[in-house]
Structure formats: C-alpha cells, structure tokens
C-alpha cells in the first residue's frame, strides 16, 4: 500500500511570506499531482509532474518532483489570502492505477 504523507498538516502565515509544503512517500510514482481544495468543493488540479527532478512554475507556485520520484514540494512565494485552502498531493504508480492522496496541508494566509 502506497502511503503519502504531507507536512506540515496546518500552516498559518502572514500575507507576503514564503512557504514550502512537502509530500513524501516510500513508493515511486509515475506521476504526481498537486491539487487545491476549497471547503465543499472538488480538488482542483494545479500541476502534474512526471520526471524525476522536474520543476514546474505556476505564477507564484513552484513545484518540484524529487529525483527518485518519491517526494515532491510546493513552494509559494509572497503568499496571498487567495492562496488559502487545502493543498493535496496525489500519486499514481502507473497509468490506470488509482491515485493515492495525502492527507493535505491546510494553509491559511492572513491579510
């Protein structure tokens, strides 16, 4: 059973600060996705990473996939209140295999 862990579980920061959240596993993933989920809504895909060492940027968000494809990080620069939400990582071992979700990091950005 693949287990994805995310840290920290909760994070509360001031607007303008930088932050990094982590997603770790002992399993190797063929692809890993980051989502943001608002209360009462479905997860919204932010990015998919597939290559070990890959770095993707999405405006102020930088995603990195570990060289061994077992871990990933999400870095947010100059956080804004609109970044508040639950950040989930999910990995699949192979195409067609179900995605396993981590428990999420709940981010709160205070104005």
């Amino acid at each position: 059973t693949q287990l994805l862990e995310q840290s920290p579980q909760f994070l509360s920061i001031q607007e303008g600060e930088n932050l990094t959240v982590y997603c770790n596993s002992s399993s190797v993933f063929s692809s890993l996705q980051w989502y943001r989920q608002e209360p009462g809504e479905g997860p919204v895909l932010l990015v998919t990473v597939v290559t070990g060492g890959e770095v993707k940027k999405l405006k102020r968000l930088t995603f990195q996939f570990g060289d061994a494809r077992k871990d990933s990080s999400l870095h947010i620069t100059a956080a804004q209140p609109g970044d508040t939400g639950l950040y989930l990582c999910a990995g699949a071992i192979a195409y067609g295999q179900n995605f396993v979700f981590g428990p999420g990091t709940r981010l709160s950005v205070l104005p």
Binding site: Q33, Y35, L45, L88, G96, Q97, N98, F99, F101, G104
Partner: protein, 116 residues
C-alpha cells in the same frame, strides 16, 4: 475548457435506500474514477473503470457499490442500501494519458451525500 460534471450536487436519503450518483467525464478521457471524502478526512479511492469494466477497486468498494457507463457519456455510482457511514462527498474523476505514459486526472465538483 472541458470539465467533469456531477449530479446531483446534494443528495439526502434515508438509510437503506438506493442512490445513484451521476458523472459526465471529459469526453476524450479513457479512465474514470470514483473517490469519496468523509467530512474532515482525506480523499479515498473507491474504484477505477476502463474499457467498460472495473480495473481496480478498494476495500471500501464492497458489494453494495456498483458502477456503470450506460450510454458512453455518463458514469454512475450506485449504492444499493445506504448506511449512515456512507455520508460523504463523492467525487468523480477522469484522466487522460500524457506523453511518456503518465496520467493527469481531473475531478468533478462532487456530490454531497447525507444518509439519515
């Protein structure tokens, strides 16, 4: 931009009743999934579906659950006899293959099921 849609958005039912949750995946996607999320807990995989059959299912997906793709566009999850613990947000997802064989998965907005 294409998206996964789900109906209804909310469903309230009595314990023991049957419910059918409906999803329309993105049209050129080949894999379809159901997940659930109990309030305050993490997203849990239920079942994946490919080529008109179940490709993988979790321990949660017992005999009271079934899935169907009745008409080539809809993808349904049926719960035959609902229990209180089935109360959750149910998400449908569909995926396409990226170059190199990896996969990207898109979620619907969810159906909130409340079993009384």
């Amino acid at each position: 931009e294409p998206e996964v849609t789900q109906t209804p958005s909310h469903q309230v039912t009595q314990m023991g009743q049957e419910v059918i949750l409906r999803c329309v995946p993105i049209s050129n996607h080949l894999y379809f999934y159901w997940y659930r999320q109990i309030l305050g807990q993490k997203v849990e995989f239920l079942v994946s579906f490919y080529n008109n059959e179940i490709s993988e299912k979790s321990e949660i997906f017992d005999d009271q659950f079934s899935v169907e793709r009745p008409d080539g566009s809809n993808f349904t999850l049926k719960i035959r006899s609902t229990k209180l613990e089935d109360s959750a947000m149910y998400f449908c997802a569909s995926s396409s293959r990226l170059a190199g064989g990896a996969e990207t998965q898109y979620f619907g907005p969810g159906t909130r099921l409340l079993v009384l």
